[in-house]
């Protein structure tokens, strides 16, 4: 029965990632991703952890490219590798007495946390084969990003302009918060 579950899991993964599973680059990128993610949660210097987090996020972008999600990969590099990583590094460098300290990343609750994590992992593994993954049967448009840009400029032009107002609100909010602390 267990062997059946595992073969079903294998089939589901095969169906999900398709031709990617035969690509050696997928395994190389996954290896770098998992290794750097482990470094993030085990290293003693929080600044080094942040640098490895950047490598982790960058590897995720590589996975996106292998899955033909080019725009998502660009967003991943721009937003996560570019902006979020900068924010994290700034936050570390602006916090006094954090960068040079050797920190311990675990506390007395490590066993509970491990149990919960393995619970989540197990649930994910078991739920993957029993989920119906809807995969679009139409072929991907050859010019993925061009289509996206065209849709943004034509059908979705109002949400597009509203995004600008949302960003404006975020910017003003940041300025107001910074000013209050500064003065």
């Amino acid at each position: 029965m267990i062997a059946g579950v595992f073969s079903q899991i294998g089939q589901s993964f095969q169906q999900l990632i398709g031709d990617v599973s035969s690509n050696p680059l997928f395994y190389l990128i996954s290896f770098v991703l998992i290794l750097s993610a482990l470094m993030v949660v085990t290293l003693k210097n929080i600044f080094h952890s942040a640098l490895f987090l950047i490598l982790t996020l960058f590897s995720v972008a590589g996975i996106y490219i292998l899955l033909h999600a080019e725009f998502l990969a660009a967003v991943q590099v721009l937003i996560y590798v570019g902006a979020v990583a900068i924010l994290i590094i700034f936050a570390i460098m602006l916090t006094s007495q954090l960068t040079s300290k050797r920190i311990v990343q675990t506390n007395e609750q490590v066993t509970v946390a491990l149990l919960i994590c393995f619970g989540f992992l197990g649930t994910a593994f078991l739920s993957i084969p029993y989920t119906v993954w809807r995969i679009a049967d139409v072929a991907l448009p050859a010019e993925n990003i061009f289509t996206l840009g065209k849709l943004l400029m034509t059908d979705y032009v109002l949400p597009f302009e509203v995004v600008s107002i949302v960003l404006l609100a975020a910017l003003i909010g940041a300025v107001v918060l910074a000013r209050r602390e500064g003065s």
């Binding site: 937003i79 990003i145 943004l152 302009e161």
Partner: protein
């Protein structure tokens, strides 16, 4: 997928260059460390504390504003790809988008958060 070969070569060349310079310089340089040499500043005053210092809080607002304009760049990207075949209409839409955001930059400027010291 083939067009990413250049990206891959670039990536490996970048990693390789850093590794090469690190190990090659280690190979050819003389190793003769002593106490004075290992100080943060080799000459003049005796340094206090270590080289990890706390940076000014004012830097953070620049990072936050950068994030907002980085998100804007994400929208510029598909627009730029599609622009060649969309023409004036797309240009006007993007100008509206950017002008709304420029207001935020002006607001930050007016409030003086971009001022140094």
């Amino acid at each position: 997928m083939e067009q990413y070969l250049a990206v891959l070569i670039f990536l490996f060349a970048g990693i390789g260059l850093v590794l090469f310079t690190f190990f090659f310089s280690r190979l050819i340089r003389p190793a003769n460390p002593y106490k004075a040499k290992n100080q943060n500043y080799e000459c003049a005053e005796k340094p206090i504390g270590d080289s990890w210092i706390k940076f000014n809080n004012r830097f953070y607002i620049f990072a936050l504003i950068f994030v907002v304009f980085d998100v804007e760049a994400v929208f510029l990207f598909p627009w730029a790809v599609a622009f060649g075949r969309l023409g004036l209409y797309a240009l006007i839409e993007m100008i509206i988008f950017i002008v709304i955001l420029i207001f935020g930059l002006f607001y930050a400027w007016k409030r003086g958060v971009l001022k140094w010291v």
